[in-house]
C-alpha cells in the first residue's frame, strides 16, 4: 500500500512539474478521404525528418521537436478546426498542404502572430512580404510554376510560342484557378492561344474535357490537378492518344501514383518540380538508420524516396533550418512563433548548407527577406518513364519570368492590402 501511495505521489509530482520545453510543429495532414494518396507521403516525409532530428541530434539546438498531427481530410473547415485546436500548444509554423485551408488561415495567422509556410501552393501574392507579414511561400509558387512551364515550352520551340495552342486542364477550385492569370498574361506576351478547361471536384469524370482536347488539338496541355483528377487525366490523355511528351503537370500532378494507373502509356508525361528526385542523397542513409530501420517511420514507412515524400521532407527541412536561424538570431533554443517568423524571414539556403544536411542539389539556393517571402521561384522539369517506374530530370531548377510574376504579385497584394487596411512593411 505504501509503495502504491509513493508511486501515486511521484506521478502527481511529475504531472504537476514544469513541462519539458519542446518545439511544437502541427502537421495538418490528410491521411483519409479522396486526397489521401497525396497527403500520406507528404505527411510521412514531414514527420520522418523531425523524427530524424530528434533521434540523431536530440532535436534542434538541443530542444526536441514535437509534431502534432491533425487530420483535415483536405477539408477547409476541418483544417481551420485543426488550426484552432493546435495553436494554443505553442505552434511555431503551419504547413497545411491545401490552398483552400491556406486562404482561410492567412488572416488568422496574421492576427495570432504565427507563421504560415505554403511551399508551392497557397496564395501566390503572399510572396510579397511587405503585405503578408506572416505568410511565406518559398522556394516557388504557382505563378512560378505557370511561368516555368511556359519557359520550358519556349525552350522546346526556339523561344517562340506564337500561334501555338495551349490548353490548361485545371481543378475547378481556388488551387486550380491560381495559374490562370499568369498564363493569360504570358499568352499576351508570347502570343500563344490559351484554352481553359475546368474539371469539377473530384475529377473522376473528364470525358468532355478530353473530347474537346481531341477536337481542338492543342499543341500542349498543362495540368493543375490534385487527387483522382491527375490519374484520370493521364489515362484520358493516353486514351485519346495525346502525345504524352506535350502534356505537363504542375508539381502536385507529378507523383508516381498519378501516372502508375495508366501503365506504360503514361511514359513521356512531364511534370514541374522544385525538389529533388528519388533517395540518392546522404540524408536517406540517416533516415534509414535512425527512422525507418528503427521502426519509427510515420505511416507504413513505405514512402521513402517518393515524390511527395520528398516534398514533405523538404518542407520539414526548411522549417527546421528556419528554427535554427531563429535560435541563432534570438539567442534562445526554445523559440516562440514570432521568433520563428523572424527566422523564416532571415532564412538563407546555400548549397553548402544543403550539402551539410546531406541534401545537396535537393532544392535550389535561395534567401528570404522582408520584401520577398517567395524565394527565387526556380522550377525544374521531370519526365516519367513507366518501364523503370522513375521520374527523370529533364531540366534543372531554372528561373521564371520575374518581370511578369513580380507585377502580378504587386498588383494582387496591393489589392489585398487595400481590402484589409494593411500598411506596407519593410520601409
Amino acid at each position: 500500500m505504501k509503495t502504491k501511495l509513493a508511486t501515486l505521489a511521484l506521478g502527481a509530482l511529475m504531472a504537476a512539474g514544469p513541462a519539458l520545453a519542446d518545439l511544437v510543429i502541427p502537421d495538418l495532414s490528410y491521411r483519409t478521404g479522396p486526397y489521401a494518396a497525396g497527403g500520406i507521403p507528404f505527411s510521412d516525409g514531414y514527420n520522418d525528418y523531425f523524427t530524424l532530428l530528434n533521434e540523431r541530434d536530440g532535436g534542434i539546438g538541443g530542444v526536441p521537436v514535437r509534431v502534432i498531427e491533425c487530420e483535415t481530410g483536405y477539408n477547409t473547415e476541418k483544417g481551420v478546426e485543426c488550426y484552432e485546436s493546435t495553436k494554443g500548444e505553442g505552434a511555431l509554423v503551419y504547413q497545411p498542404l491545401s490552398t483552400g485551408i491556406t486562404y482561410q488561415l492567412i488572416p488568422k495567422v496574421t492576427a495570432d502572430g504565427i507563421p504560415l509556410h505554403t511551399m508551392g501552393y497557397g496564395r501566390t501574392s503572399a510572396a510579397n512580404g511587405k503585405v503578408f507579414s506572416n505568410v511565406f511561400n518559398y522556394p516557388a509558387n504557382y505563378w512560378n510554376g505557370a511561368s516555368g512551364a511556359i519557359n520550358y515550352l519556349l525552350g522546346e520551340n526556339g523561344d517562340d510560342l506564337s500561334g501555338k495552342k495551349i490548353a490548361l486542364v485545371y481543378h475547378n477550385s481556388a488551387y486550380g484557378k491560381e495559374p490562370i492569370r499568369t498564363l493569360e498574361t504570358l499568352a499576351e506576351k508570347h502570343g500563344y492561344d490559351l484554352t481553359l478547361l475546368p474539371v469539377d471536384h473530384p475529377g473522376q469524370e473528364q470525358k468532355s474535357q478530353w473530347l474537346q482536347i481531341r477536337r481542338e488539338k492543342p499543341d500542349y496541355v498543362i495540368m493543375w490537378g490534385w487527387g483522382v483528377m491527375n490519374q484520370v487525366a493521364v489515362q484520358e490523355a493516353a486514351n485519346i492518344r495525346f502525345p504524352m511528351e506535350n502534356f505537363i503537370g504542375v508539381w502536385w500532378s507529378g507523383a508516381e501514383f498519378d501516372v502508375e494507373p495508366a501503365g506504360d502509356k503514361a511514359t513521356g508525361y512531364k511534370a514541374l518540380t522544385f525538389t529533388g528526385l528519388g533517395d540518392d542523397y546522404p540524408v536517406y542513409d540517416d533516415l534509414r538508420q535512425y527512422v525507418a530501420d528503427a521502426g519509427k517511420a510515420a505511416g507504413a514507412g513505405d514512402q521513402l524516396g517518393a515524390v511527395q515524400y520528398n516534398r514533405g521532407l523538404y518542407a520539414a527541412m526548411l522549417a527546421s533550418e528556419a528554427i535554427k536561424t531563429a535560435q541563432e538570431m534570438h539567442g534562445v533554443a526554445d523559440i516562440d512563433a514570432s521568433m520563428m517568423r523572424d527566422g523564416m524571414e532571415a532564412l538563407e539556403m546555400t548549397n553548402a548548407k544543403m550539402d551539410s544536411l546531406g541534401m545537396a542539389g535537393f532544392g535550389p539556393e535561395f534567401s528570404v527577406s522582408c520584401e520577398n517571402h517567395g524565394g527565387p521561384g526556380l522550377v525544374g522539369v521531370v519526365q516519367w518513364d513507366a518501364s523503370t517506374g522513375t521520374w527523370n530530370k529533364l531540366q534543372d531548377f531554372m528561373p521564371t519570368d520575374a518581370e511578369v510574376i513580380g507585377a502580378l504579385i504587386a498588383e494582387d497584394s496591393a489589392a489585398y492590402a487595400a481590402e484589409n487596411n494593411i500598411s506596407q512593411r519593410c520601409e
Binding site: 491521411r31 483519409t32 478521404g33 479522396p34 486526397y35 489521401a36 494518396a37 500520406i40 475547378n172 481553359l196 478547361l197 475546368p198 474539371v199 469539377d200 471536384h201 473530384p202 475529377g203 473522376q204 469524370e205 470525358k207 468532355s208 474535357q209 473530347l211 474537346q212 481531341r214 477536337r215 487527387g227 483522382v228 490519374q231 484520370v232 489515362q235 493516353a238 486514351n239 485519346i240 492518344r241 501514383f257 502508375e260 494507373p261 501503365g263 502509356k265 521502426g295 507504413a300
Partner: protein, 328 residues
C-alpha cells in the same frame, strides 16, 4: 454535315457510354430501395470497398497489415502470391456476401419497423464505418486495377466514322465493355426477379413485407440476398470506375453521380436507372459541349441535378418510379 453536328454526335455517343457507368452505380441503390425501402447512402462506399478488396485479393495483400504490424511488431504485408482476376472476383463476391450478412445481422435487423429516415441515417453511419474499415484493411494508397479489360480508343469505330463523316469518333473500349456488362447485368437481374423463386420472393417483399412474411418468406434471407446482389453491382461498378482511375477513396464519390440518375429514373425501377443514366449522361455532356464554353465550363456536376429537378417538376416519382398516393 456540319462539323459541329458531327462533334455533337460524338458527344452524344460518349454521353450514352458515361450514362451507362452512372446507371451501374444507380442500380445498386435501386435494388436495395426496391426491396426494403432503404436509401442506401453506403452504395458508393460499397463500390470502393469491393474494388479495394478485389485488388487486395489479386495482389495477395495481407488484410489489416498495418494494424497487425503495429500491434505485433511484425512486417507482413503480402502473402507472396497473386490470384487470377476471375477467381479474385469470385472471392470478392464472397466477401460482399459476408458483408451483406453482417449489415443485416448487426445493423438492419435491429431497425426493422423504424422510420425510413432512421434507416437512412444508419446507412450514413455504415458508409463512414465501411470507409474506415477499407482503409484499415487495404491502406489508403492508389491501387492499379487490371482485370484484363481493354482501354483506349476503339480503332474500328474510329475508322468507320472517319470514312462516313471525315472525322473519327472517340469511343473508349472500356465504355463499350461497360455497356455490354450493364446490359447483361440488367438482363440477369430481370430474369432473376421474374423467373426464380428467390427473385419472386424478393418482389413479394418489395410489394408488402407483412404479406410476404405471412406466406413464409424469410425477410432476413431476402434482405441478405438483396444486399449481396447490391454488393455484386457495387463490385461491377468498382471494377469499371477503378480500372479508369485506379482504386482510391474518391471512388466512393461516384455515388454523387448516381443521385440525379435516381431522381430522374425513379428509385424503384431497374429500367429507370438505365434510362435515367443515359439521359443524364447525354444531357450533361451535350450541355457542356454546347453551353459550357460560354459559361466557363465545368457544368456537368450541377447540370445533372438541374436536369433531374426539371424532370421532378413534371414527374415527382421519376420517369419510372411508382406513384405514391397517400389518402388522409
Amino acid at each position: 454535315m456540319s462539323e459541329q453536328l458531327v462533334f455533337a454526335m460524338e458527344v452524344i455517343l460518349n454521353g450514352l457510354m458515361a450514362g451507362v457507368l452512372y446507371a451501374l452505380v444507380a442500380l445498386g441503390f435501386v435494388l436495395i430501395y426496391k426491396a426494403s425501402g432503404i436509401f442506401n447512402y453506403a452504395q458508393g462506399v460499397m463500390a470502393l470497398f469491393a474494388a479495394m478488396t478485389l485488388v487486395g485479393i489479386m495482389n495477395g495483400q495481407v488484410p489489416f497489415a498495418h494494424v497487425i504490424n503495429a500491434t505485433f511488431g511484425t512486417h507482413v504485408y503480402n502473402f507472396g502470391w497473386t490470384i487470377p482476376a476471375l477467381l479474385a472476383i469470385l472471392l470478392t463476391m464472397a466477401v460482399m456476401v459476408v458483408l451483406a450478412w453482417a449489415v443485416q445481422q448487426f445493423v438492419m435487423r435491429h431497425l426493422v419497423g423504424q422510420e425510413p429516415i432512421i434507416l437512412f441515417m444508419a446507412t450514413i453511419g455504415l458508409a463512414y464505418f465501411l470507409e474506415g474499415v477499407a482503409d484499415l484493411m487495404w491502406g489508403s494508397e492508389i491501387k492499379t486495377l487490371d482485370v484484363g479489360l481493354p482501354q483506349g480508343i476503339n480503332l474500328w469505330l474510329d475508322e468507320v466514322t472517319f470514312n462516313i463523316f471525315g472525322y473519327g469518333f472517340f469511343i473508349d473500349n472500356l465504355d463499350i465493355v461497360a455497356t455490354v456488362i450493364a446490359a447483361l447485368l440488367v438482363g440477369a437481374l430481370v430474369a432473376f426477379s421474374q423467373y426464380t423463386k428467390q427473385g419472386r420472393a424478393m418482389r413479394a417483399v418489395a410489394d408488402d413485407h407483412q404479406a410476404a412474411l405471412s406466406v413464409g418468406i424469410s425477410l432476413n434471407f431476402i434482405w441478405i440476398m438483396v444486399w449481396s446482389v447490391a454488393g455484386f453491382v457495387a463490385l461491377v461498378a468498382g471494377i469499371m470506375w477503378g480500372t479508369k482511375s485506379g482504386v482510391q477513396f474518391s471512388l466512393s464519390l461516384i455515388a454523387l453521380k448516381a443521385l440525379p440518375v435516381l431522381m430522374l429514373g425513379g428509385f424503384t425501377s431497374i429500367p429507370g436507372a438505365i434510362v435515367g443514366g443515359l439521359i443524364i449522361g447525354v444531357g450533361e455532356k451535350l450541355f457542356e459541349f454546347a453551353i459550357g464554353p460560354m459559361v466557363g465550363g465545368a457544368t456537368e456536376n450541377w447540370f445533372a441535378y438541374v436536369l433531374a429537378l426539371i424532370f421532378l417538376v413534371f414527374r415527382p416519382q421519376g420517369l419510372f418510379g411508382e406513384k405514391i398516393i397517400e389518402r388522409v
